[in-house]
Symmetry: C2
Subunit: 647 residues, 2 copies
């Protein structure tokens, strides 16, 4: 088994990521890297015993709550991990005593995170301690962790406390109100409710001890139910503590505490839970694995990314989708962007179409939010949120508010202008349909999205009588360095044109295949044959700024008149070009945050549609790549450049 | 002893406020009403045993931390109150079982809050439970509470847990990072640090049990150190539990944990602590009591308000001041407004001048913040913050941000325009000096404030060449219903004119009495004899919109041209006129949120200066009172109307 070394004390094999040393400066970064999950929730790789300033988090799909400025965020749920170990009064903590050896391992194949430490306490007692944990892929409401403690050089008392931690926080903010907690047959439970969205959560837990006699006691500090036990141990003797946790919310059941208690009662053995979990992962990988031989780095990298997608995708919920930072942290507040449809979805379409369908059906359930957004802006139909959460209403913050008393507030324009999302979603639906032939889903869900977003475009597109063409003005394209007076962005215009072509096709398909549904949607969305003709007219006359003599596509009207830039002059750098030039400075120059024309070419490549061809690609690659801030611009950039780089 | 009844299940005597029934709908309101404090901290009247959705809070002067939108807020500190009692496994909680009798009493004379309950548990066991608490006025770092439990009809086990609760929150936000906690001689301690301002706090506690044998145990859930004991009790037997707590922060000591431990060691008896506390209150009342005979309602009301002021005023800290909602809750985020100097200060000037001096010295320490604010707006000198916190930088929020995705953000203009604060503070300083003859303080602190705020006015006041007069344009006066294009607000202009008169006087006084200090401040603030002349010129030519033919003062230029209003047409109502008419609607009408011209007359009454005289008062009273939203406008209104009402 080949192993490669990376910075950050990480090595990897085909299936495993191994951290060989603990560095507290990387605490939060590694918590993200070692996230586990099961499509229902994600749990960051924080330590069971806690660590000062840790950002421990368990995020459950769809559990949102109000928060200032960004409207709503995915809520950090009670922490199920906590298991503290103290020997003769000394607590095991990595910021105390001495770490004699350390290894943390994420096993992608089995979905198990483990950690093995040899630790010497401040007073000189040495022990081996081993942790492993998983969020069951076989039953999404089940979480389990195992701790094994082996004293090496002392007889003594080991005190273990296994808690449910009801004061979780989203970087300071605790969304939960405590309702109640208690004990039942030496199992603990906790009942909480989110502050504004009023989602109730029930969590229950028990502790199974093997390897010695154990007397369990429950302590009931409010919000922090804890099972405690004190064990007498001798050198070389290993005690095993299995903490099993169940969790439900009122998003799925009426009585989440009872559901978690009932479920917990059925779970009798850690190893049984683990084996069903491992088997579920085996099945998932059978469908989704990508094999790369002879290149461990590439093999591991691909699998690590597939793993991240698999643990984030809702398996049993069509009212949630994958947020921009998955369920691994607080970034982007759990809001869903175009990333999901355009970057993530293809993987699911081709390997787990049921999960792809869940993700797309989420957009169907947010249609009313998209309609409210359209209506707020004075448009018709469905104008999808640039950032979407539980309802589909727009939750992009309006402002970046600095905390310095005299700094200027910065208006964020994406909610108003980054409207290509309303063509991106139809794009994803179309290719889901092409790959699966899922006519029923298209009829019952997808068609309404494509058509009602098409209705939006009719009200949004402008006719320019002077130029005798349709135009889309005042947008933000894929490239977010330009957000003022961006008219006729080629990416947006072509995606919309493409969308309206498909809207016509689907309208015709419905009329011929499912006339009843066609009639229903005509009535519901107010679509008439005249509007179908309007779409066709728009398809024919929507302007795309393409110059056939040069094969160059102008990113938007006037882009080529902006001041040019040579990015090599700014190298070496460790900041984005926007940070270097300022928002105004970047917007006045031909510098891109992420691919825009090349992004369009990537999307049109799939069916080899206009403007995709090799020549246009080559010309525009040569023009735009040197002007794109691929290193510090956007994480959405490199993948698109990489795809063309192979060609 | 006469007793009167009020709504809210409250009765009062000369010295006591008594709640006769518990109504959970009034939970938060009563927590505020039953706040105690000692000038170092305030603790809301939340229950020792906890209650669902309680807003328990202990706010320590000067412990601020960053928060979005409003920049900084007074931080809710670890809760020292928690003491839970359970009998044979049933927790005493007012939302469980049956309340057979209930009385909560705030004794203003002694500064002690107590509560007496007869309670029957869900399983039918009856007990009497009595709590009392105080924040020592004799030693501001000492807090104490006593619980007495008497079973009436059962033998059994009473379990008591006394905790320090390290997850306090400012309506969701927890400003604290846990550093450490522990046990020392069966006393517990907690070490925390604020997230951004990096203020460390140490809190320590011990539990003294009398009336039975008790074995104390410490449990150490992270962030929640707890002393537990289980007591065997019989009917009629009373056990007494005294929880003593000490608290320090790095605002005053370097090692707050050690300081709190050391202090705790010195404290041996609850009754001793209580008697020094009661004696300190006796002294405070000797200086500050106001006696009203024959009117219990008025007597109690005055004493209750004096009590609120006395528990909020920093006794040993000149770098903090009294926030608009004192230390009793989260309203206005612990920010300090003109309320302190104009409404609160006179009481202290005349009864506790040392405390008045502390409050004014706070403004001296915020001068650099006021200078940064002036400089940010392009002015000179000291432009005081409309809302001020630890540094004196402006912390008024710029925006009211609704959480509804499509609602409009509302710009708050007070930070930019409500500039009369920079004359209000000099006003307060002047009358502190008049009452105390504290020349040294004026020389070392007060003069610099008055002069540098005077420098600010020179840069802020405009010369109107057409009218040949000085003007102050684009302000918000005392009345906050008018905030757009308010020019030459009479209140502001006259206060500024008054301030500049006094600036000249103090400049001259310094030059004659303390020429060295005068030279120092001339150099530091850039004040020249020419500028002194400028002040005199401004005093002479600053326009006040007073019409001597009618005796009416126009609130600001053009106010009398606004649409008139008859407020009786809107009665009965239960909302402010701004809520009824909208911000725009109120601003276009002659309706006042709070007294403005009458506020000016109140302030000028003190030395019977222009425009105060009986005739002007009568005329303006008749004009403005019917146009003022005195019921739902501002809590700053009624006191001013009431003063004139007597005349």
């Amino acid at each position: 088994m080949a192993a490669s070394v990376s910075p950050y004390h990480l090595i990897y094999t085909d299936w495993n990521l191994i951290e060989t040393e603990f560095d507290h400066a990387q605490l939060h970064h590694k918590e993200t890297v070692f996230t586990i999950g099961n499509g229902y929730l994600g749990t960051r790789g924080s330590f069971e015993e806690g660590y000062p300033r840790a950002w421990s988090a368990t995020l459950i799909h769809g559990v949102y709550d109000d928060v200032p400025v960004v409207y709503t965020e995915l809520v950090n749920c009670p922490d199920w991990l906590l298991l503290s170990v103290s020997i003769d009064g000394e607590s095991f903590r990595l910021d105390r005593g001495e770490i004699l050896s350390y290894e943390r391992k994420l096993d992608l194949k089995q979905g198990i995170l483990s950690r093995k430490i040899r630790w010497r306490s401040p007073s000189g007692k040495t022990l081996d301690i081993y942790f492993e944990r998983f969020a069951s892929l076989a039953d999404e409401h089940v979480l389990a962790l195992r701790a094994q403690v082996t004293p090496l050089d002392f007889d003594g008392l080991v005190k273990v406390s296994a808690s449910l931690h009801g004061y979780p926080e989203n970087q300071g903010y605790n969304h939960w109100e405590w309702i109640d907690q208690g004990e039942k047959d030496r199992a603990i439970w906790l009942h909480m409710r989110t502050r504004s969205s009023r989602i109730e959560l029930g969590m229950a837990s028990k502790l199974l001890v093997s390897g010695t006699e154990a007397d369990l006691q429950v302590t009931s500090v409010p919000g922090y139910p804890t099972i405690e036990t004190t064990l007498r141990v001798s050198p070389g003797q290993t005690v095993t503590l299995d903490k099993i946790v169940t969790v439900f919310t009122t998003r799925k059941v009426e009585e989440p505490v009872r559901a978690s208690q009932d479920k917990l009662t059925q779970l009798t053995s850690y190893s049984q839970l683990q084996s069903s979990h491992v088997q579920a992962w085996e099945e998932a990988w059978q469908q989704s694995d990508i094999l790369i031989e002879g290149d461990t780095k590439a093999q591991f990298a691909v699998r690590y990314n597939l793993f991240q997608l698999l643990i984030s995708a809702p398996r049993d919920d069509e009212r949630v989708s994958i947020p921009a930072k998955t369920l691994s942290g607080f970034g982007y507040r759990g809001h869903v962007f175009w990333d999901t449809e355009i970057f993530i979805l293809p993987f699911f379409i081709y390997t787990q179409p049921k999960l792809a369908r869940n993700l797309l059906t989420y957009r169907y359930h947010t249609l009313n939010g998209a309609r409210r957004k359209a209506s707020h802006y004075g448009y018709k139909g469905a104008m999808f949120a640039w950032e979407s959460a539980d309802t589909g209403d727009e939750v992009t913050p309006r402002w970046a508010l600095p905390n310095q008393p005299y700094a200027e507030d910065i208006r964020i324009w994406c909610r108003d202008r980054e409207i290509h999302i309303s063509a991106d979603i139809p794009y994803a639906i179309w290719y889901y349909w092409q790959a699966t032939n899922d006519d029923e889903w298209l009829r019952d869900y997808g068609a309404e999205i494509i058509l009602d977003a098409g209705v939006f475009w009719i009200s949004r597109i402008e006719w320019n009588p002077k130029q005798q063409r349709y135009e889309i003005r005042e947008v933000i394209g894929a490239d977010e360095y330009h957000e003022q007076h961006v008219n006729n962005n080629a990416f947006t215009n072509r995606m919309v044109q493409w969308h309206l072509e498909k809207a016509v096709a689907i309208y015709d398909w419905l009329c011929s295949q499912y006339p009843e549904k066609a009639t229903e949607l005509q009535a519901k969305l107010g679509i008439t044959p005249k509007q179908r003709d309007r779409w066709q007219d728009m398809v024919a006359n929507l302007w795309i700024s393409y110059d056939s003599s040069t094969n160059l596509i102008e990113q938007y009207e006037g882009f080529f008149n902006l001041e040019d830039i040579d990015l090599t002059h700014y190298e070496p750098r460790n900041r984005s070009m926007q940070a270097i030039l300022g928002i105004e400075g970047a917007s006045k120059r031909q510098v891109l945050k992420q691919p825009d024309v090349l992004m369009l070419l990537y999307l049109m490549r799939q069916s080899e549609e206009f403007p995709y061809n090799r020549e246009i690609l080559q010309k525009n690659w040569d023009y735009y790549v040197p002007r794109t801030d691929i290193t510090y611009g956007s994480s959405l950039g490199p993948a698109i450049h990489a795809i063309w780089h192979r060609i």
